[in-house]
Symmetry: C2
Subunit: 340 residues, 2 copies
C-alpha cells in the first residue's frame, strides 16, 4: 500500500495506491458512511457491500442525469445522512461523478471518497474533483468542481472487467502520454494491452503514474484556466460524437485524438500523427468513426469550452507537448468536411 496526501486547491486528498477494498473500513467509519454504486458493480462483486449502507443506481451513461441524483438525495434523507456522513462512490466514472455531485450539493456539501472500479475512473474520471451529470445529450453540463477526501485504488477490482473497458481506460492513458509524457508514450509503444492485462506490477505502476500525472495538472490549475484544458485533448470532438453515435467514451476520445492530431498537423505542423494512430490501434481502440458532421458541430456549440463563435481546441506540437488553440466554428466545420 502506498499512501500519499496531495493538496489540491486547498483540499487535502488522500491517495491510497496498491490497496485492497477491505482497507476502506480503516479509512472511514461504517456507521457514518454511505456507499453508492451501480447495479453492475453490485451484481459483479456483491461481497464488497456487506455491512455497508449502500445506495444503488442504474448502470450506464444514459442514467447520468439529474433524475438519478434526485433519487440519491431522497435516499440520503431516508438514511438520515447528516453533515458528518461520508459518501463513497464505488464504481466507474458515472458512479463517481454522481457521488461527487450528490455530496457537493447535499446539505451544501458532505465529504466524499472514491473507490474507482474501472481503469477509466482510476486514471481519469475519479481524479480532479469534476463531478456532475449530463443534461439530455449535453455531457457534464451540470455539476461542480470539488475534491474528494480520498481515492482508494484496488486494481483487483478490474479483474472482472471486459476487454473493451480496459481499452476505454487506455484511451485516457494514451492521451496523458501524448500531451504530457513522451517517456510514457514510448513505453506504451513498446508494450501492448495484453502485457498490461497480464502483469500486475507494471500495470499498477502505470495506473499510479497516470493518476499522479492528472493530479499534478489539476493541482496547478484546479479551475481549468490554463494547463488543465490540455486534458481535453481528443475530447472536444469526442464529446460531440459520443452520445449521438453511442460510442464508448474511450472510443470517442480515440477518434477525437486522431482528428485533433490531423488538425494539429495543419496548424502546428505536428509531424507524428502516425505514431499516435499506431499506438491507439495497439490498445484496440478505433481511429475513425462515421458521424453526422452537422450534428457534431451543433453539439460542439453547446460544449462548455465554447466561447461565443469559437472553441478552445487542444492540439499537439509534438508527442508530450500540447497547446490550446482557439478555432472558429466556421473553420472547424471546413476541416471536418474535408477530412470526413
Amino acid at each position: 500500500m502506498i499512501q500519499q496526501e496531495i493538496n489540491i486547491a486547498g483540499s487535502k486528498v488522500q491517495y491510497i495506491f496498491n490497496a485492497g477494498f477491505k482497507q476502506l473500513s480503516k479509512v472511514c467509519d461504517k456507521s457514518s458512511t454511505v456507499l453508492i454504486t451501480d447495479e453492475n458493480v453490485l451484481a459483479a462483486q456483491p461481497a464488497l457491500f456487506k455491512g455497508w449502507k449502500t445506495i444503488v443506481i442504474k448502470a450506464g451513461e444514459e442514467y447520468k442525469q439529474q433524475a438519478a441524483v434526485d433519487k440519491v438525495i431522497a435516499q440520503l434523507i431516508e438514511l438520515e445522512a447528516d453533515r458528518s456522513t461520508m459518501l463513497v462512490g464505488v464504481g466507474g466514472g458515472v458512479v463517481t461523478d454522481i457521488a461527487g455531485y450528490a455530496a457537493a450539493i447535499y446539505m451544501r456539501g458532505i465529504k466524499v471518497g472514491f473507490v474507482p472500479t474501472t481503469l477509466l475512473a482510476m486514471v481519469d474520471a475519479a481524479i480532479g474533483g469534476k463531478n456532475g451529470v449530463d443534461a439530455g445529450i449535453y455531457k457534464n453540463l451540470v455539476g461542480t468542481i470539488r475534491q474528494p477526501s480520498f481515492l482508494l485504488y484496488d486494481i483487483n477490482l478490474l479483474k472482472s472487467l471486459p476487454v473493451d473497458e480496459w481499452q476505454n481506460g487506455f484511451a485516457e492513458i494514451i492521451k496523458h502520454a501524448a500531451i504530457k509524457d513522451a517517456v510514457m508514450f514510448r513505453q506504451l509503444e513498446k508494450l501492448d494491452l495484453e502485457f498490461y492485462m497480464k502483469y500486475q506490477l507494471p500495470f499498477s505502476e502505470l495506473v499510479m503514474r497516470n493518476a499522479l500525472l492528472k493530479t499534478s495538472v489539476v493541482r496547478k490549475d484546479p479551475t481549468e484556466r490554463g494547463d488543465r484544458k490540455l486534458l481535453n485533448f481528443g475530447h472536444t470532438l469526442g464529446h460531440a460524437i459520443e452520445n449521438d453515435n453511442k460510442l464508448a467514451h474511450g472510443n470517442a476520445v480515440a477518434v477525437g485524438m486522431v482528428y485533433a492530431a490531423d488538425l494539429s498537423h495543419k496548424i502546428t505542423g505536428f509531424p507524428e500523427t502516425v505514431r499516435l494512430i499506431n499506438t491507439i490501434e495497439q490498445y484496440g481502440l478505433p481511429t475513425h468513426a462515421s458521424f453526422d458532421i452537422k450534428k457534431a458541430m451543433q453539439n460542439m456549440k453547446h460544449d462548455k469550452k465554447r466561447q461565443r463563435d469559437s472553441v478552445h481546441f487542444v492540439l499537439l506540437e509534438k508527442i508530450g507537448k500540447a497547446v490550446v488553440h482557439p478555432i472558429s466554428f466556421k473553420k472547424l466545420e471546413q476541416h471536418l468536411a474535408a477530412d470526413y
Copy 2:
C-alpha cells in the same frame, strides 16, 4: 450610490448600495447576461426586464425545488449560455437561491449577481453565498455555498411590496440586532415599522447596516463552523414549523426567536425575553403559533444542523450576544412540550 468591494472566502463581492436598477447595465453587459426572476416580480415591474434576456420561474417557496432548477438549466441551454454568461437573480430569496444554485452547477459554475427585491433578500437571503432548493419539506437540503459577483441594492423596488413582506424582512433585522448589535436593537425599540416604511434615509441606512452585519459574520466564517451558526437564531424551530404550518419565513423565525429566548432563559439565564417579544410585536410579527410538536421534532431531526442525537441551538446570553449550545432531541422535546 455607495460601492464597496468585500472579499468573502477568496471571492470578491461588489456591494452597490443606494443604487437604481438602471445601473445594472453598467455592472454587466446585456448581451452576455441572463436575468432570472419570478412571475410576481415580472408582473409588478415588467419595465425592469425590457431588453434583457430573462428566465421567469414560478413564484413561491413551494416551487423552490429541483424541478425549477432543471427548467432554468434547460432554458440556459436554449439561450446558448456559456461559461462567460452572467446570471443575475432579480427577486426575493427564492429567486436568488435558485439563481445562485443554477449558476453554481451550470457548466460547473458561471458568474452570478443579485438584485434583491424583498427586504428579506436584501438583509439576509441574498448575502453570504448560500444557495439551493428544498427537498420536499426539508428546507435548503440541496445547494452549495458560493459567493455572488455583486449585489445591487435599489430600495425603490420595495415600494410595491405588501406590508407583511416588510415584516418578514424585519424578523431577520431583529435577529441580527439580538445576536450581534445591541445598539441597533435599541434603535429598533425606539422606532417602528411605520417609521421605516416612511423615511427612506434611515431605512436605507438600516438595510446597509444589516447587509454589512451579515456579510461580516459570513466573512469570518464562510463555511459555518463558528460564528455564522449564530445567524440561525430562531431558525431551528422556525424551519421546523414553517412549511408544515404554511407560515411566512419571517413569522416562523419570529416564533422561533421567542421560543429560543425562553430556552435561553432556562439555560443561560437570559433575562430579556420581554424586550425581544415587545420588539417583535412592534414590527407586526407573531410571538407564538400553534403547531404539532411531534412533527416539528421530526423535521428538526432532518435539520442540517443536526449532529446524531442533538442539534446546535442558538441561545442568547444578553441582547447583542448569542452562543451556540448543543441540545439533545430528548431535552428539546421536553422543553417544547412544557412550553406549548
